[in-house]
């Protein structure tokens, strides 16, 4: 179907809903790479005008990837909740944008609406929102999840401790984990990206994480971020698996590029649920996403990267995850070129994830070939904290020595707690107090490593 808008007497025509969405997106390198970006800034504004006038119902009939050939489209359409959709069913995308910002629309209303919104509706409305709108609406939404502690409570912000090591040295990983715990980081998850996916190595890491957690009775969950089929094997071998991780994307083909399908995710979800390891909750899945993943797999089907990204959130919400985060600046400058594009995308991803009903976090990060630096990350972390993000990722001194990119430092989490008053998960906070790692003012002490000397394994 074609769409159009008239601005200043000039008529702008668009050949499909997919094209309106792509042209309406803020400029970014990935859409240009895909050849779907608006060729001219005036066309971008024209597309936003056209998009504002499109009824939300249209998105139930015109899908960007065919229902017959894409299981993510089928998931989106088949799981759409018409009752939840009812309050906004008469609206256009433009109406929805203003309605979301209305004082009377609160978090409970938005939570009830989530199952009624499709990924494409959510992507669409985000394109009509400025950065402050993305922050203001996301801030209204609370998404609470739990496993061994409770994430997403109002006034709280979790953190993932990411102690990666270039050759998966157990003492090296443990040393980085110790540093993070002494700085009060890790309630969302202690999550390691293994350098190797050797199965014996994977088992060793999972057991080490479990030993540390049990030894010091820390109310956290641990995760080895390996392929879901590897985690299935670990569970078969009775390894102490808390969370199942997987990178996901917004089309069936892109997920095939990751070597996954909805059925293998379901299998892993069921297996993790059967373990019953959570103490205060049963959310067992952890997903990562990122704009550009579908294009990277040459499986974007002509969609702009932000629309494809929100479709990944539709995949995520089918599995009631504990944690979801975008790896926003990780995928590289060919998708998000500079700090400006990374910041905008980070705010979009957080907003869209929350509106979809997800416990959204972010890896505030950039690579060394992107036009960005730590100042851009400072800006994004403070904006996301204001937006009420569920959790942020942090690594020692901002430098991930295995993945070779820069994220936040453990210290940055303290800065945010101090600046914005956001606290760690209550169970973890109680542990920090009991271990006397915080002072009377709630600040992290200069804690010497000897406090947890048993954390470091003797050898590899």
């Amino acid at each position: 179907m074609s769409y159009h808008a008239v601005l200043g007497g000039e008529k702008f025509c668009f050949s499909s809903l997919k094209q309106v969405l792509a042209y309406a997106s803020p400029y970014r390198s990935g859409d240009e790479l895909a050849g779907v970006a608006a060729p001219d800034p005036l066309l971008r504004i024209g597309a936003r005008e056209a998009l504002a006038n499109i009824p939300l119902r249209t998105f139930l009939n015109e899908v960007p990837v065919p229902y017959e050939t894409d299981e993510v489209t089928r998931l989106i359409i088949d799981s759409h909740d018409a009752t939840a959709f009812a309050p906004v069913a008469h609206m256009t995308v433009g109406d929805l944008r203003d309605w979301l910002l209305d004082h009377e629309i609160d978090g409970a209303t938005l939570a009830a609406l989530a199952p009624g919104l499709t990924a494409e509706m959510v992507a669409a409305v985000s394109k009509l929102m400025r950065n402050q709108d993305l922050v203001a609406v996301a801030r209204k939404i609370t998404v609470r999840t739990a496993f061994r502690n409770t994430q997403g409570l109002p006034g709280r912000m979790g953190s993932r401790l990411q102690p990666n090591h270039p050759v998966d040295s157990l003492p090296g990983i443990a040393a980085s984990m110790l540093d993070g715990l002494l700085l009060g980081v890790g309630d969302a998850v202690v999550g390691i990206n293994p350098a190797s996916d050797n199965m014996a190595n994977a088992g060793d890491i999972v057991h080490m994480l479990e030993d540390v957690r049990v030894r010091y009775d820390i109310p956290i969950q641990t995760c080895l971020l390996t392929h879901v089929t590897n985690t299935l094997r670990l569970m078969e071998r009775n390894a102490p698996v808390d969370l199942v991780f997987q990178s996901i994307s917004g089309t069936q083909d892109a997920n095939a590029g990751f070597g996954i399908s909805l059925s293998v995710l379901s299998e892993a979800y069921m297996a993790s649920q059967s373990l019953g390891r959570g103490t205060v909750g049963t959310n067992t899945m952890y997903f990562e996403t990122g704009q550009g993943s579908a294009l990277s797999a040459n499986a974007h089907h002509g969609m702009d990267q932000q629309t494809a990204e929100v479709r990944a959130y539709a995949v995520a919400r089918a599995f009631s995850p504990l944690l979801v985060n975008t790896v926003v600046g990780f995928i590289g400058p060919e998708y998000l070129y500079d700090g400006r594009q990374i910041i905008r995308a980070g705010l979009e991803d957080h907003f869209c994830g929350k509106l979809m009903g997800l416990p959204m976090g972010c890896d505030v990060c950039y690579t060394n070939h992107a036009e960005a630096d730590q100042d851009d990350m400072d800006n994004l972390m403070m904006l996301l904290c204001t937006a009420g993000i569920n959790f942020l990722i942090a690594v020692p001194g901002s430098d991930d020595i295995m993945l070779n990119y820069q994220s936040l430092s453990y210290h940055d989490i303290q800065t945010l707690r101090s600046l914005f008053g956001v606290r760690a998960a209550p169970e973890f906070e109680a542990w920090l107090v009991a271990r006397e790692l915080v002072d009377a003012k709630g600040r992290m002490r200069i804690n010497p490593p000897g406090l947890f000397s048993g954390m470091i394994p003797c050898n590899d």
């Binding site: 090591h165 270039p166 050759v167 040295s169 003492p171 090296g172 040393a175 980085s176 110790l178 540093d179 990206n193 350098a195 190797s196 996916d197 050797n198 199965m199 190595n201 971020l225 390996t226 392929h227 590897n230 094997r233 990178s247 095939a256 590029g257 990751f258 990562e288 996403t289 990122g290 993943s293 990277s296 797999a297 790896v327 990780f330 995928i331 590289g332 400058p333 060919e334 690579t367 060394n368 070939h369 730590q374 020692p396 001194g397 901002s398 430098d399 020595i401 993945l403 070779n404 820069q406 210290h411 940055d412 303290q414 800065t415 707690r417 490593p449 000897g450 000397s453 470091i456 003797c458």
Partner: protein
């Protein structure tokens, strides 16, 4: 290291090059450490723009040099699609034959890594591949991982091993990855590859260890006639085969 002598940051820093135990100023990091970080960042940025100098590979025979359709480093960074396609001239420079495997030394995002680690891994793996029909060595400029698929197709090789510079990090700007693809063809999915990453001399995987893992992967792939996520590394040593996930293969960590 557990009880005696007591743990110190200095001792722990010997276990990892991660920036642990940094001195603090209030909540944040001390100024000296912040400035050191900024220095490392600029150095890594410089490594991205470096180019591959074939004469410094010290190869016994001159390799076949190919280039992608990306015309310079800047276009290479912005246009991964061009980095996955051979230039017209390069396509014609590949003599078609019948080979089991072709090795490609490729700049990726760190030409220095390929320059330092490529020849060393090659020298270590060759003795482990007796009886294999090995194609002439290819050196690829402004290359992404998938460029190897077209190279292998052009040469008539059943397998390609891309030895490619990873994106530079702050601690190490000279880290290389190996991507092994059995039955490569244009359009091969990332899930069809196996990867050995973090090959470098700053506490990373040694060239010898990488070569051992690679030989195992090659032999197993030949036996099963496939590579990728279904080829699990079940060796007892740290094998460094990497599954595709956002933090790995999808990323341009290795200039994909």
């Amino acid at each position: 290291m557990t009880d005696d002598p007591p743990l110190t940051w200095r001792g722990l820093q010997a276990t990892t090059s991660a920036r642990i135990g940094l001195p603090r100023a209030g909540n944040t990091i001390s100024g000296a450490a912040v400035r050191e970080f900024q220095y490392a960042h600029v150095r890594a940025r410089h490594a991205v723009s470096a180019t591959l100098d074939t004469s410094r590979l010290n190869l016994p025979q001159p390799p076949i040099a190919v280039e992608s359709r990306a015309r310079d480093r800047e276009e290479y960074v912005r246009r991964p699609d061009l980095g996955r396609q051979l230039s017209d001239g390069s396509r014609e420079s590949l003599p078609h034959g019948r080979y089991d495997v072709v090795f490609v030394i490729a700049d990726g995002l760190s030409a220095l890594a390929a320059q330092q680690q490529g020849p060393a891994v090659l020298a270590a793996v060759m003795p482990l591949l007796a009886g294999w029909r090995i194609a002439p060595l290819v050196v690829a400029h402004r290359a992404r991982v998938a460029l190897g698929d077209e190279i292998a197709t052009g040469l008539g090789a059943r397998c390609v091993v891309m030895m490619i510079g990873e994106r530079p990090g702050l601690r190490c700007a000279e880290s290389m990855s190996l991507y092994m693809t059995w039955n490569p063809r244009i359009g091969t999915r990332d899930s069809g590859r196996n990867c050995i990453s973090n090959i470098h001399g700053h506490g990373g995987l040694s060239a010898m260890a990488a070569a051992n893992s690679l030989a195992w992967l090659l032999k197993t792939a030949r036996m099963r006639n496939y590579s990728g996520v279904d080829l699990k590394d079940e060796t007892c040593t740290i094998g460094q085969t990497v599954r595709p996930d956002l933090h790995k293969m999808l990323s341009d960590k290795s200039g994909k």
